[in-house]
Structure formats: structure tokens, C-alpha cells
Symmetry: C2
Subunit: 458 residues, 2 copies
């Protein structure tokens, strides 16, 4: 049994459990009350706020505790936008933010605001010049994650913060994936994080708003948490969250080196062990514990189940595994293969032996899924030098498998036309061409779905 999905949520750190249990006795009462139980709760809350501020690198009165990282982002984006409404209603985000940031951006648009989504390169990183180009006189806020949650790529936050600062625009940093590893550098204005990502309990997020940043909380008023997070404070969980943040920080430097070695080994070995694999994300500027790869001709959900049966819990950004049936917006923005996608995110303390066993199990799991998917291909000869593959009604990764199966039958210079009504084909057929060195000619509308044209180059 090995849990390799820390980027979704880390198991509770022993220090968090201890602190939670201890503070259930003293932290349950209303900290706004004047009686002894209320005063005890208030003391715990104040101490937790001081400690959180120290870990973030800010003032205690800049920290509000929220019920989750998602709520911190929703509140932070809405409050910062409203605080600068007189400047304008333009919001900048990267194309690879967490869905809670992108959903906040959609809410901004729904209310009449404008959003610029800054593109990323093939490693998933933004270029600070992309933010510089996106800034407008009416820009109210810019958002950038400290590191990507799906591929682990670390973003140039300090550089982007500097670009924003020069333009007088506040930058909100979603530090959900990195705060356990260390403070976020640079002149950011707002910061959000989520305790269960670093081994704290569920139910605690952080919203930091630097002094001087214009901020107007939205929604019904409430006195708690400086008016930035309505509702009764969850003090035992807050105490546990902060205690575990301090604990993981104390181990961070050493653990980062160890996990980085393990993920480097996965990055190096997977392409040697499995054919037709693309390891994605930046090989250097990345989170210590996260590595992501995509396997051609593989259904992500099926692979995830194979690995689960073999005792490994991983996550997948493939369309096949998400409830919306659209491929991961992160992989799409990076322009890399989405099919057969696997994210391995190691929690601190992961044993080397578990990683080695994962590398032993993976090739068989991929081969098993590929074998099951080896469906016969309906081929119709359309013209002497063009093959037609009808994949209508078939879901990722079948269209690419059928393309690959017939590709050898066309002469060099000839083309294959793939008919598909699966959204993922739009992403995966060009990605296959790039991996195979073949020429992607583009997409044409078809009676149903689209036709994707590929020319055989070699």
C-alpha cells in the first residue's frame, strides 16, 4: 500500500493529530465570549495566528483563517477585485491555475469583468513577460500559483510580482502546493493556502492580505476573522494546521532533497521502462515530490485502477477520469499529451522501496491496459494516398490507437484523416504527431465531430 497522491491531500501529520486532540479540550468555545472558556479559545487562536504569520513571513493581523484553500481563493479574489473596482474590472490569471482560481475568474466575467489568461510554455511555466503584456490600465488584480498542482512546475512568482508591483497591481499567489516547503518569495500582495496539502487537517485555509492592499470583503457582513471569513472559527483544526506547518517546515530542507531524488528517478526510469511515454513539467524548477507522465494508447482511469489494485494510489488528469469528460486544462495549456496521464505526488516520508516497487509494477500495468484497448480498426480506403479512420463515438485513447494502427499503411507523403467526436482528440492527435515526428495538418469540421489530418513524414 503506497499513497502517492499528496498533491490532492496529504495524510494527517502526527503532530497535527496530537495538536487537534489536545486543543479539542481548550479550543471548542466561542473566542468572542468573555468567559474563561472563550478566553482560552481566543488565546489558542491568537497564538496560532502568530505562528502562521511567522511561517508565511507576514504580520499576524494580515492572516485570516478560512474553511478551505478554495474558500480562501474565492474570498481573496472577490475581495481584491472589489477593493479596486474604481481602477477597473480586469483580472489576469495563468492558464494553469487551480480550478478554484479559474472559477473565480469565470465569476468575474459573469459580473461584467474581463479576464486575461496568460499562456504557459511546454513545461507549464508562465513567462513574466506574459504578465507584463497582459497588464492594462484597468487591471485590478493578477493571480499566479506558486507551483502547479498537476505537473509540479514552479512558477516565477518573484519576477511576476515585480512586474505587477511596477504597474501598481496586486498579485495573489495561490501557494497551496508549496507552503509546506517554504515561504513564498517576492513582493506578493495576497496569498492563499490549504492545510490538508501539508498534512494539516481538512477544514483550514489561509488568506493573507498585506497591509495597504485595498480589500473589500464581499457577501454578508460578519465580525470574525477581520470580516474576511464568516462563521464560527474552527480553532482545534486551526491549531493543528499551524502546528503541522511548523513540523513539516522543520523537516522540509532534508525531505525536499530526498523526495527530489526519488522523483528524479521516476522521471528518468519511466521512459526507459515504458514505450511511448511523455514525462511532462519542468525537469529542474519543480516541486520535490511531484512527477507527471502520460502514456500513449492508454485510458487514464483504467491505468489508475490497475495501479490501485497493485497497491498504488495516484491521480490522473486524463479526460477519462474526470467527471466532466474534458481533459485537464493544465495539460491542454501546456500542449502535451493528456491520455494515460498519471500524477505521482509523494508525501514526505515516502520510502525508496515503495518507489522502486512502483517502477516494477508500472510497465505491466500500462501493457495490460494497452492490450485490453487493442480494438480492431475500421479502415476505409478513401483515396490512394489517404486513409480514413472512423472513430466517431469512441472515447480517448481509442482515436489515437486507431490512428497509430493504420499509420504504417499510408506511404510517406500520404495522409490519414481521423474522424472523432471526442474532445480529447483535439489535444492528443497533435501531441501524437509531435511525439512521432509526423506532420499535423489541422482540423476540419465534419458532419459529426471533426476530421483531424495527419501527413506521414517518415
Amino acid at each position: 500500500m503506497a499513497y502517492f497522491d499528496a498533491a490532492s491531500g496529504a495524510p494527517l501529520h502526527p503532530v497535527a493529530r496530537q495538536a487537534l486532540s489536545a486543543s479539542l479540550d481548550d479550543g471548542w468555545a466561542d473566542p468572542a465570549r468573555l468567559h474563561r472558556e472563550g478566553r482560552k479559545a481566543r488565546l489558542l487562536l491568537d497564538a496560532a495566528r502568530e505562528a502562521a504569520a511567522e511561517a508565511v513571513g507576514c504580520r499576524a493581523d494580515e492572516v485570516a483563517f478560512t474553511p478551505s484553500g478554495t474558500r480562501a481563493v474565492h474570498t481573496g479574489v472577490a475581495g481584491a477585485l472589489a477593493g479596486r473596482r474604481r481602477i477597473g474590472r480586469h483580472l489576469i490569471v495563468s492558464a494553469v491555475e487551480h480550478s478554484c482560481v479559474l472559477h473565480s475568474a469565470e465569476a468575474c466575467e459573469a459580473e461584467g469583468g474581463a479576464v486575461t489568461r496568460v499562456a504557459v510554455g511546454r513545461t507549464g511555466a508562465v513567462d513574466p513577460s506574459g504578465y507584463a503584456a497582459a497588464l492594462r490600465p484597468d487591471t485590478a488584480l493578477a493571480c499566479l500559483q506558486s507551483a502547479n498542482h498537476e505537473v509540479g512546475t514552479v512558477q516565477p512568482v518573484a519576477e511576476v510580482a515585480e512586474v505587477c508591483r511596477a504597474a501598481g497591481v496586486p498579485l495573489l499567489v495561490d501557494a497551496a502546493q508549496s507552503l509546506g516547503w517554504g515561504p513564498v518569495e517576492g513582493g506578493w500582495s495576497l496569498l492563499t493556502a490549504s492545510a490538508h496539502k501539508w498534512g494539516g487537517p481538512s477544514g483550514v485555509g489561509l488568506l493573507v492580505v498585506r497591509k495597504g492592499v485595498r480589500f473589500a470583503p464581499q457577501g454578508p457582513a460578519d465580525e470574525r476573522e477581520s470580516g474576511r471569513s464568516p462563521g464560527f472559527e474552527n480553532i482545534p483544526a486551526i491549531v493543528a494546521a499551524v502546528a503541522s506547518l511548523r513540523a513539516v517546515r522543520a523537516e522540509a530542507a532534508q525531505e525536499a532533497v530526498r523526495l527530489r531524488e526519488l522523483t528524479a528517478r521516476i522521471r528518468a526510469r519511466v521512459p526507459e521502462l515504458v514505450a511511448d511515454v511523455e514525462v511532462v513539467g519542468d525537469p529542474e524548477r519543480r516541486l520535490p515530490g511531484t512527477v507527471t507522465f502520460s502514456c500513449l494508447y492508454v485510458d487514464g482511469e483504467a491505468l489508475l485502477h490497475e495501479l490501485d489494485r497493485a497497491g498504488f494510489s495516484v491521480s490522473s488528469g486524463s479526460s477519462c477520469t474526470s467527471s466532466t469528460l474534458t481533459p485537464s486544462h493544465v495539460l491542454e495549456a501546456m500542449g502535451v499529451l493528456s491520455e494515460g496521464n498519471v500524477r505521482v505526488s509523494l508525501p514526505p516520508g515516502t520510502a525508496r522501496a515503495d518507489v522502486e516497487r512502483f517502477l516494477e509494477v508500472l510497465p505491466g500495468a500500462v501493457a495490460g491496459v494497452r492490450e485490453k484497448l487493442g480494438a480492431p480498426v475500421p479502415v476505409t480506403r478513401a483515396a490512394p494516398e489517404e486513409l480514413l479512420v472512423d472513430s466517431l463515438g469512441k472515447r480517448c485513447p481509442i482515436p489515437v490507437i486507431e490512428l497509430a494502427k493504420v499509420f504504417g499503411e499510408v506511404p510517406v507523403g500520404g495522409t490519414v484523416r481521423v474522424l472523432s467526436d471526442d474532445e480529447a482528440a483535439r489535444l492528443d492527435i497533435p501531441a501524437w504527431c509531435q511525439m512521432r515526428g509526423q506532420e499535423y495538418l489541422g482540423e476540419e469540421p465534419a458532419e459529426r465531430g471533426s476530421a483531424y489530418l495527419v501527413r506521414r513524414v517518415s
Copy 2:
């Protein structure tokens, strides 16, 4: 040491602690994930939802877990209003709702909606005819608490629900104070509650939306909790909340009888033991554990500190104890005395001996505060039959104390004019007149603050 502030937050029930501890092992992972840890978390969440639905008396898919009762109310009111925007933007609330409902109403007004606040009688209860009169063709939603949080008065929810149903208007019931005692009767449409009020952990609220009720969640989209509560679910706390709800319900019938006897004793004995006390709230239709009284010539905060020193944790709705320096809106709406206000709310399991000791301690505590406040009175004879009391710059309860001290000096038929710039005087001087059988003549604007005129009748 006796904690008599259960209406603010009850101590953690042993069953909640046990369930929390147990589910920390199986409930920490993301229930949206397909791996075994995710599936375990999902099973716990599904089971908790079933059990919560059974306790509420609704379907499981009508229940969403929120991070607090306040968030449940904010989300419920905003979503129900938005769902019926085409009908109109009129909202009905009672004047004695919890502040989170009233703040939601203010947010509705800020966005261009209209709000009717239904008055209450001297016991704090609404009359269903008040809701009937408030209904308009553009009424989108009505809200009513199941029982009042400050005075314990139980509201006629079933009758008001029937009035609303006949008009096709949904009723949202804030059941925060009563859900631990039993399900809410009647044909309500939405229901909210808060786990820490019944001995569950902090961090869990309930939002129930009946099938067929139009509901449009506001704010950024999120897939979790049917789109009604964004952010990572706090499953261990949810499991503990539901487990403790079942546990307190199992004890509720017996415990209600016991606590009702104890509060009946407080209601009866306090006026016998302490002079110039008004016990407020309905003597019959009330929560088992809550009793509230106000003491003339007493500063609520000082009394609270005296009782705290004697080992009793209570709460106060006096202006002196709130950070906003306005008297409790509940006491104001009831038209009862707000000064020297004490709310005693007994948690289940309260020992009779503790209540007896409270009754022993109370008279001395009140006398002590009254003695400290016995300040000399600056009296100027303005006219043969009118005395002027200048209480400008003095805070509640000093104006009433000074009024009482000089009252004997005017002849029957004469008047006292009290100058005061304290908001509470507007409430407390008429209340004093009612308690004393003297005639309140009204308020006149003065150079600073207001002049309050009282005629001596007997």
C-alpha cells in the same frame, strides 16, 4: 466551574470526539478521487449524509455540509433568492433572527432587494399573521428561526410554513438552536444548522434544500456538495458532527425534561432572590436549557465578570458586552430591558447542584455590581416640578441608575428629564418605566444626545 453558555457553543460530546478521532484515519483523503483512500473517504461522507438526512427528516441528496451554520445561512439565503429572482427580490425575516440571517438580509438590500422585518411580541415570538401580512407578489423567500438564540422562545414554524406554502413562497428555517432537540416540524423548504451547537465539532454546518425548491448557488462554481458548498470536505468533522447529533437525539427526550425543570427553577427563583429583575422570553414555548433575565442598574459586562470569577460562564446581550456598543437587537425588538442582561444556557448533563450554586452566587454578584455603580447624581432643579438629570457621556446602566436615584425627589405628577447620549437609554428608560409603573412621556432632541421625559405616576 460551570459552563452555562451552550447556546454559543456546546462542549464537544464524547461521541463526537470518538468519531472524530476514528475518522481521522479513514476520512482525510479527497472523496472525489478513485483510489482506495478516496473511496474510503467517500463511503464515510455518504454514510454521514444518510444519517444527517434521517435526523433532519429529509432525503440524503437534499443535504449539503457547509463549514459552519453561518455559511449555511449565507449560502441558503443567497441561493434561494437567486433561484426566484424572476418572481422578485423581496425577503421576509423576523426581527429576532441570528445576526447571520440579518446580515444576509442587509446584503439583499445592498443589491437592490427589499426586506420586511416581522415584529415580535414581548415574549420574542412572531405571530404567523405577521408573515401573512408581509407576503407580497414579489416575495422570493421568508426566513424564521426555529427558536431564538438569546431568549429561547420557540417560534411557530409550522404555522408560518403553512402561511408561506399557501402563497407559494419557500421558508428557510434557521434550526441552529433546536436541531439537537428534534426535527423541525412543518412544511419548510430550506433548513440550516450548526454542529457545535449540539456538541459536534466546529467547522460543520448543514444546508438542506428540499427537492423542488428553486436554488441557484452564488459565487464561483465548485463541484463539491452538489455545487452548494465549495472547497475540500472536512470529512472527519462531518462524521463526528453526525455521530454526535444521533447521540444527543437519543438522550434528548429525557434530558429536555430535566433541563426544563432546572431552567424553570431559575425563572422562578431569580426574581425572588434579586430585586428589579425582568425574566424575558416565553415561559412555556421555549428551549429546554435557555433562560434569560435582565437586572436593572447593572452593567452586563461587569456582572458577567463577577459570575466568571465565581465559576459560571454565561453570556450577555447587553450593549456593554458587545463590541458594537448597541444593545441586543433581540431584546430591543421584544421591547424589554437590555441592561444587566444574562443568558443562561445549560448544556445537556448540567448538574442540579451547579444550578443551585448559581442561584446562591447570583444575588451577591448583582449587589456587588450595583454597589460599584452607585455614583453620585448631579441634579439641577430646573423647575419646581421638573428635575434634570445630566447623564451625558455616561454609559448604560448609569443613566437609569441616576434616574432612579432622584425619582423620589419629584412630587407625583412631576417629571424627570434625563439627558443621555447612550443608545441603550432609548431602550432602557421606557423599560424602567414599564417595570416601575411610571409614565414614559417620550424623547426630545437635545443639544447633545436626547432628553427622555418620565412622569411620576405613583
